[in-house]
């Protein structure tokens, strides 16, 4: 069975005045329909850039694809002509973002923005729908994400809504084209803690009810554990570990994953202090040779500085990119 999404040796660089940053350094990832995948890593590890790559949203320049392929339903995303790309965006892959306040246009009403999305997707796929039908669809989407009083909401502007409502509106817009894959880039990070839980529950519910495939990006392992059956860990532009979420949390294989888990405070065990990983994330303009994690790794050997470890299957169903990961 062909996977829904297949990324192969994808490398993306950002060209700047002070050099080229190798932000994604050979990503290999497959998603089957119905998967719920979490992508976890520190800020700057490339997880958002990876998410945007699926819709080719990274502005180019400065972004430049160095090598690799992204195939969605066997179609090469990177080679799509503009018209195909538009039919992909929103219709087949939809995306929601971290900060709902800045991702809604401040000057346009919610109704206008939703209609624009609906009608834009229609025209990209050769359909046409009158404005009132688009508005009715928008109202239906709003109620699907738990927002009532659609007529008033459609007439209002983003600044009149709370953060949680804005994110729900963006989720409704993401559902407009009935996509197969939902990419959620830190969808709860900018929200209040109580609202975070509600939005996360909404996403999980929509994924279940609509049979969506989910790719959820977060720096928060708790968020990912709540919504995703499988997790990949990213470090400095590489996937370092790929495993079922429960197994990953129970028994991390990569030293970086272990470090991440040790850095999570345990609320019921105040005697165990969270431990950070020594050092900082490396410069992506001049990344360390070999394994990009080796300068911070307590198990590093000469081999780690010399040779980049490939993702290999350490245990059936689990892959890890480390020379020293024990099976």
């Amino acid at each position: 069975m062909t996977p829904l999404l297949a990324i192969q040796d994808y490398r993306l660089a950002f060209d700047g005045f002070d050099g080229t940053a190798h932000v994604l350094d050979g990503i290999d990832l497959q998603l089957r329909a119905g998967d719920t995948l979490g992508v976890v890593g520190e800020s700057g590890c490339g997880k958002s850039v990876l998410a945007r790559s699926l819709l080719r949203l990274n502005p180019s320049p400065p972004a430049r694809v160095v090598s690799g392929q992204i195939r969605f339903e066997a179609e090469d995303v990177l080679a799509m002509p503009p018209a195909r790309l538009r039919a992909l965006r929103g219709r087949r892959i939809a995306m929601i973002f971290q900060d709902p306040a800045s991702h809604l246009n401040p000057l346009l009403s919610i109704g206008t923005q939703m209609e624009d999305a609906i009608r834009g997707q229609d025209s990209a796929t050769g359909r046409s729908r009158p404005r009132h039908a688009a508005r009715a669809h928008a109202a239906a989407l709003l109620s699907a994400v738990g927002l009532g009083d659609a007529p008033r909401l459609l007439a209002s502007h983003p600044h009149q809504l709370s953060g949680g409502m804005r994110q729900r509106v963006l989720i409704a817009m993401a559902l407009a084209g009935d996509p197969a894959l939902l990419v959620a880039d830190e969808p709860t990070t900018a929200l209040d803690v109580t609202v975070q839980a509600q939005v996360l529950a909404l996403i999980a519910e929509l994924v279940r009810a609509r049979g969506l495939t989910l790719m959820l990006i977060s720096h928060d392992l708790g968020v990912i554990a709540a919504a995703c059956a499988r997790t990949v860990v990213m470090y400095a532009g590489n996937i370092v570990e790929d495993a079922p979420t429960a197994a990953l949390l129970a028994r991390p294989l990569h030293p970086y994953t272990k470090g991440l888990l040790a850095a999570v405070p345990e609320l019921d065990r105040p005697d165990i202090r969270p431990r950070g990983i020594p050092g900082g994330i490396p410069s992506l303009r001049a990344p360390p040779p070999g394994c990009r994690f080796h300068p911070r790794c307590d198990r590093a050997t000469a081999l780690c500085a010399a040779e980049k470890p490939a993702l290999r299957e350490a245990i059936p169903g689990r892959t890890v990119a480390c020379h020293h990961a024990e099976a």
Partner: protein
């Protein structure tokens, strides 16, 4: 919501009133520090000392300055701007006669500035750092740098004298009967009365001065609009609109441009005032019968009431333009409407 809007409006109008008073003080001071003796001018070139003193008393120029100021302000309140010594008419009448010509010229110049400046700004932002962008940058810098009188002469020499495509100066040929005034704007009146020949001729006369007048305005609209569009196209809401599959043209022309137009609007308000004041140069070069030319010929003659009147009109235009801009902000930006 309505009460907020009313309060906002009242604040703007009150502020305009304060500014108006400042403007009145300024024009009065300027007229009184000028080196000419208006009484000598009024009395005529052959007048003796006693006649000049008589004129000084007649015009109230021998009164103390505060009293003169009071008379000036109370005159203004009754709509009296004084009398032009050169034309013999009241300044109010003169302004009513010359202002429509200037207004027409400025309106067309602003229309050119907007309809060329905004699209070129958008295009430059879309083509950032490519050759189109470099080209418009050179165009814009020269638009701001070229002195209008020099640029005006250049256009006259090229299109009027050398090529003979357009008339050199004036508003209409002396042989042509202007349309009966409805609005006072010659082109509009010609259109309203269906006089197509007069309209075409008027257009050929107004084109060069309007282009010269529009150039600095066009250039700054272009640059501001480009910078704001570059910013808007990078904004998060543009990326999410792309991700949701919104039509790319709609993203540029509505989602991004609407945000970029807010700062551009402020420039338009300022430019309208500056444009009015640069009519002094442009109308002189093109012999355009507006308030700029009227101010220049009065100033040369040392006739200061008209200069004060023109200064007041230009200042009022500045204030009116910025008031309109403030109102348009309220229309464009829902955050201002509802606080």
């Amino acid at each position: 919501m309505d009460r907020r809007l009313t309060a906002y409006l009242l604040r703007r109008v009150a502020l305009a009133g304060v500014m108006l008073f400042g403007l009145v003080c300024m024009t009065f001071v300027i007229a009184n520090v000028a080196p000419n003796d208006p009484a000598a001018l009024a009395a005529g070139p052959d007048a003796g000392r006693s006649q000049i003193e008589q004129a000084r008393r007649d015009y109230g120029l021998d009164r103390p300055l505060p009293e003169q100021f009071w008379r000036y302000v109370s005159g203004l309140a009754r709509g009296e701007l004084g009398r032009s010594i050169a034309t013999g008419r009241s300044v109010g009448q003169d302004l009513a006669r010359y202002f429509p010509a200037t207004l027409e010229l400025c309106l067309l110049a602003m229309l050119i500035g907007l309809s060329v400046g905004v699209p070129l700004g958008v295009l430059s932002a879309l083509m950032k750092d490519r050759w189109v962008d470099h080209l418009t940058r050179i165009f814009a810098v020269s638009g701001i740098a070229l002195p209008p009188f020099w640029f005006g002469l250049l256009l006259q020499l090229t299109f009027a004298t050398a090529l003979g495509w357009l008339p050199t100066s004036g508003r209409l040929s002396v042989m042509t009967e202007p349309p009966d005034p409805i609005t006072g704007l010659l082109l509009t009146d010609a259109l309203l009365r269906g006089q197509w020949g007069v309209f075409g001729e008027g257009l050929s006369y107004i084109l060069l001065p309007a282009i010269v007048l529009s150039f600095p305005c066009l250039a700054s609209i272009l640059r501001v609009n480009r910078a704001e569009m570059v910013e808007a196209l990078r904004a998060d809401y543009v990326m999410s609109a792309q991700a949701h599959g919104v039509n790319p043209w709609r993203i540029v022309c509505v989602h991004a441009l609407r945000n970029a137009m807010l700062p551009t609007l402020a420039i338009i308000g300022l430019r309208w005032g500056w444009m009015m004041s640069s009519t002094v140069l442009v109308e002189t070069v093109f012999d355009w019968p507006g308030i700029g030319l009227y101010a220049v010929s009065s100033a040369i003659a040392g006739d200061f009431k008209p200069v004060m009147g023109v200064t007041l009109i230009i200042g009022l235009n500045f204030m009116a333009a910025n008031l309109i801009v403030d109102l348009l902000y309220g229309v464009l930006d829902p955050r201002l409407r509802e606080g």
